[in-house]
Amino acid sequence: MNINPEHIWDGALEKLKTWARINSPWAIHYNSGSCNGCDIEILATLTPRYDLERVGVKLQGSPRHADILICTGPVTLQSRERLKRIYEQMPEPKFVVAVGSCAISGGAFQGCYNIVGHVDAVIPVDVYIPGCPPRPEAIIDGVVKLLESLKKTDGRAQSTDDRLQNTDNRSQTADAGQ
């Protein structure tokens, strides 16, 4: 077997990156049309009783610093492009957590004229947290599950292009169904 020393370093570096990524993911939050209920629960998750920072998650202001995008609410026509843009601005690898029934399916707002639908129809989603709104414990559980799953995949996500392609297919199917 032909061992290339450079590759050994690559592997070690990847392991180190994964370790760092899992232990201190930075998140940003975007509300694409939610009723606020999910947003205040996300904030509550960061405050002393629940304290998401225990698992290393820090809420960040800029998409360019973030690993995890936390989305709430159904996607409205106005915020669709914004949501896409924020997602595209995030560096690889990136993960999306959809919080609340609205982000998962449109929830109570299904059928309203200004709703594109669920987050999944616009950007790819990794973790879904159901509830209207989910309890802070549920949000913590969702984030921890995401971090656990990163351990298995070595912190690598599918490449963005593939995933966007999948999403396009899905939303086309959804359009055709209407």
């Binding site: 049309g33 009723c35 209920g37 106005q78 915020s79 914004r82 004229y113």
Partner: protein
């Protein structure tokens, strides 16, 4: 002058607020000379949505207009529909609704104290007030089973009764909160560092408040005695009245003080309600179809006056539901008040009206030009 014009765009995704809104501040150096606000990112079309749902289904859609003041929206809608049907909810139901309204006001005001303190860079206060807010969240959850959308209303009454154990839990919770609230009042009126961010900032005189049509605590902090609970009592507010809290200073400090002092009023009223809770039924019978007609209802949400217009054509769905929320009334003042202030004060002034974008979503552009 044109050459000096520099526009700072902020949003819609921005670190300061948890909801999307787009702001353009024209600045001359650090000083804001004009402000344009663009809203509507969370416009979902709820008003139109109500026309496709039955009277009862709408209760749940309308509750989801806003996650912070969900109960007051459902109450305003239920009161309007009851007026249409000519039904009055029994006294016990009215008192329980009022109790929920006041608990919701406590959670909303504590939330606001935290968010506004965060804008001022005072994160310790943010964390403390949100920790204490969990007390009232527990009470709401204990009563209704959910932390945010309590779904306590039915058309014609309420779903939940209050038993002895819950009563004791509420009283214990209020004792703790009251003691903490004294501390907050002390902080927002005496802490020197904090006062530098709030005293004299965002001044709105009484005349301006009237001219801009400010409502709720923002108007009351400018000396305008506007409170639907007092002016036109609904629910059980004539038996368990509240006092209007007024401050005449009109700056951010006054807005803090008014909201914190309103908390004491809420504690007092809740204790009174628990003490003299009228006995009797929880709900009156409602007809399935509403007779044709129109009704309006006005209530005082935590942020100010909330107005509902409901029109029925005799079917099982409303023909039109119009909602006018307090945040949209207060937004007009933000553009004006920021002018002449440092850019760094703009988030504080914005937070000062306690903006709630999700119920604000009916206007697209507000320009102060």
């Amino acid at each position: 002058m044109e050459a000096n014009k520099f526009i700072v765009p902020i949003g819609p995704q921005h670190p300061a607020l948890k909801e999307p809104g787009h702001f353009e501040f024209t600045v001359d150096g650090e000083v804001v000379t004009n402000a344009t606000i663009r809203l509507g990112y969370v416009h979902r079309g709820v008003e139109r949505g109500t026309e496709d749902r039955t009277w009862v289904q709408n209760l749940y859609l309308i509750e989801r207009i806003c996650g912070i003041c969900s109960h007051i929206h459902a109450t305003a809608y239920a009161l309007g529909v009851e007026k249409l049907a000519g039904v009055t909810a029994p006294p016990r139901a009215q008192a329980i609704r009022e109790l929920f309204c006041e608990l919701e006001r406590i959670h909303s005001h504590l939330l606001w104290v935290g968010v506004a303190a965060h804008e001022a860079g005072f994160d310790a206060l943010f964390m403390y007030s949100w920790r204490d807010r969990e007390t009232v969240m527990d009470l709401l959850e204990g009563l209704s089973g959910n932390r945010v959308h309590y779904s306590c209303n039915l058309l014609g009454g309420v779903k939940f009764d209050i038993d002895e154990a819950q009563r004791d839990a509420i009283l214990r919770g209020l004792d703790f909160l009251e003691q903490r609230t004294h501390h907050y009042l002390d902080v927002v009126t005496n802490d020197a560092a904090f006062l530098r961010r709030t005293r004299g900032v965002g001044m709105m005189t009484r005349e301006q408040a009237i001219e801009y049509g400010a409502v709720g605590p923002v108007a009351r902090a400018s000396g305008v005695a506007r409170d639907v609970r007092v002016d036109a009592p609904y629910l059980a507010y004539d038996q368990f009245p509240v006092n209007t809290i007024i401050d005449t200073a009109g700056d951010l400090e006054a807005r803090f003080a008014v909201r914190v002092r309103e908390l004491f009023e809420s504690y007092r009223v809740i204790r009174e309600i628990l003490d003299k809770l009228p006995p009797g039924e929880l709900a009156a019978k409602m007809p399935r179809k509403m007779p044709p007609g129109e009704a309006i209802s006005r209530v005082e949400a935590p942020r100010g006056e909330l107005f509902y217009f409901i029109k029925s054509n005799g079917g099982d769905k409303p023909e039109r539901v119009k909602v006018r929320t307090p945040s949209i009334c207060n937004f007009g003042s933000v553009g004006r008040l920021t002018i002449g202030h440092q850019l760094a004060d703009a988030p504080m002034i914005l937070a000062g009206i306690d903006p709630c974008f999700s119920c604000n979503d009916r206007v697209v552009v507000v320009s102060t030009k």
